[in-house]
Assembly symmetry: C2
Homo-oligomer: 454 residues x 2
Amino acid sequence: MSQQTKFILPESEIPEAWYNIQADLPRPAPPVIHPGTLQPIGPDDLAPLFPMALIMQEVSQERYIEIPDPVLDVYRMWRPTPLFRAHRLEKYLDTPAHLYYKYEGVSPAGSHKPNTAVAQAFYNKEEGVRAIATETGAGQWGSALSFATNVFGMDCEVYMVRISYQQKPYRRSMMNAWGARVYPSPSEATGVGRAALAADPDTTGSLGLAISEAVEVVATSGGAKKYSLGSVLNHVLMHQTVIGQEVIKQMEMAGEYPDIMVGCAGGGSNFAGFAFPFVREKIVNGRDTRIIAAEPSAAPSLTKGQYVYDFGDTSKMTPLMKMYTLGHSFIPAPIHAGGLRYHGMAPLVCHLYDMGYIEARAVRQNPVFDAAVTFARTEGIIPAPEPSHALRVAIDEALKCKESGEKKTIVFHVCGHGHFDMAAYDAYFAGGLPDYDYPEEEVERALAELPQIA
Amino acid sequence: MSQQTKFILPESEIPEAWYNIQADLPRPAPPVIHPGTLQPIGPDDLAPLFPMALIMQEVSQERYIEIPDPVLDVYRMWRPTPLFRAHRLEKYLDTPAHLYYKYEGVSPAGSHKPNTAVAQAFYNKEEGVRAIATETGAGQWGSALSFATNVFGMDCEVYMVRISYQQKPYRRSMMNAWGARVYPSPSEATGVGRAALAADPDTTGSLGLAISEAVEVVATSGGAKKYSLGSVLNHVLMHQTVIGQEVIKQMEMAGEYPDIMVGCAGGGSNFAGFAFPFVREKIVNGRDTRIIAAEPSAAPSLTKGQYVYDFGDTSKMTPLMKMYTLGHSFIPAPIHAGGLRYHGMAPLVCHLYDMGYIEARAVRQNPVFDAAVTFARTEGIIPAPEPSHALRVAIDEALKCKESGEKKTIVFHVCGHGHFDMAAYDAYFAGGLPDYDYPEEEVERALAELPQIA
């Protein structure tokens, strides 16, 4: 073997700006609109929830937005992240393809989420905000924001979906280790939480309800607290582009350019961060790369959803965004990839999909875990269930190359480790993992409840 | 801030040889002796358990032993590991000291253990061994060997102390992910296991019993299986010296040389791997560094033990080794740092301590977790309980520098992450962590049972 395995950039090569793909779009993305007026929403509509700097980033048309030094100083704790050549996986698959993967699991929270959490905490701090509230499902986002607020000496409260709070106690412990307060949602701390508990004391909670609790806390704080989101929004996706910008340099080190790129997509932020700098190469420089979003068959928004205006949350509190959606009331099956259980998709990802710059593929749970275990046994890293969707698609593409004899360069994104997901591996090894097919009836039901926009 | 945070070596700088401190000792370490004959044991005594290459390494006087290419190829999956400047911890402590830490938590198993597991699996494979049996307490060693045997396509069976098997199910899941079979010890798979279960069906097991099971499996395998140990032995310590050799180069990058080095010590392998290359600098080049082994007050072998011949295990199956020991029948309190719950210490570490090249300090559990949380909240990494002992001592030394105004360079070793130890953090946050003082009576009792050697 004895070939180079890791492509590591020096600290001086951490990108100094985030890349804003809005500057390079052949046509602008459809605006976010107010559900009452149906008019595009403006900065003032968002000001109660977010600091102005982030609201401005949300609508900015600047191609590059400089990363503040205090954010770069935090990024230096783990960035640049490694790009690996998957020599052992190639050999195992006996494929002529060259496989590379970017790995964000080296961050303190173990995923890509801190890239935006740190930026969001910083801008809030700059505008005098001392406390942030958020929700978390499986706990990746909550732990990333706990880490980030702690770095800047801020208060953090996390509303964690009750069933995850009970099933993933160690994600909660991690947030505690960074000083955050974590509430099982629904909680006694908010009005909506108390109402939900009164209606059903045994409720397991939902992400929609947890969002409602965090937003209530912010709305009733008299401006003292702000809200923070871990995916979907334009500025969140933009913060993640440090990933793909590093990959461009690392692939230069490797002396190859990707024929195929694969990332998993739930809300869309890790996919966007990985892929958008390469989408720019397609748009601006005409470079030819197939860019594939891997999604679960249990929540196949891109492959089976409709491209229409819909709410971002189940409780219809957000503005309306044009996106590929299964309907805001869609309830995904309880797959272990909690981060991919979303009815919609980031509007910018959807816009690029609609224009044909990216593809999508839906994969089922057991084949995903087959790929995860193959990866663990060849490359050593135990991946989280979410990026294992990308692994499945990348392995399938490598096997096609074996069939055809093509020596393609395939680059995929392993956005987090699975150290807090071992119960999912246990279920897989016990043979008890359900395979959820496309939930046709549930999608039909939910799509019938879409808001009617002219 | 904006100063360099990480000192990263290129892959080409992975050490190409292990450093064998036996070549540089001013006087040789006392021999290991047979408990029956009291004569030094020879290679043939060990041949049933270990491959000859490792037995030869155990007694080698060569200064450097070349690392085989297939082992280097595996090391490349995560080595060289990073050295960090702890800027944020320095600032928090308000100390003039410069703090650096080596971090082995980036390995697949999350600790330094794979450095020797990979080497041991390789040499076994070279000599035709297809299967290895071992024991594990908290699971760090078992998961490292599972990873390593999987890489070389070997079979692995792990006897995991029953209480850990029940309390740390996710360490077991990790071993399963790498294809190992894991048995709660005592198990029905061995004679000693069945006997122990017959005597007490509810036994929680012990490391001594788990060793007995693994050794029985090997002894009754007709030579098909070998045994593997994760610490204490000379060759195990030597394999870990890739750590300290990298630190030497990384401190050159940083332009400083350590005044103080701190590692935790249970069996002694992570401490030795980190420190021995610097001990060589003391012995050979007269460089002046204080090198401190941090041990738990609940198992203070160096600071409170006697330097005598004793068995390495509780069941008196090993040869006799001269070491600082609390007595092989000593039962340490159930501190969360399972990797430091050992009655003795690696003979080479003891020999250097006896000659005055290294120091030792015992620390209590709650101050250790205070240090762990301080580290998590400043440097972002959630450390395992074991290296948090080193953290405690390093922080104490940094605070002394604050008192005295001295600008010392302090380098410590964070040998693993705490992602599988979050229950210990929960107990700490709940205020329920006992502080175990030096167990004087238990040590007196156990020392009275030492073997009587003239």
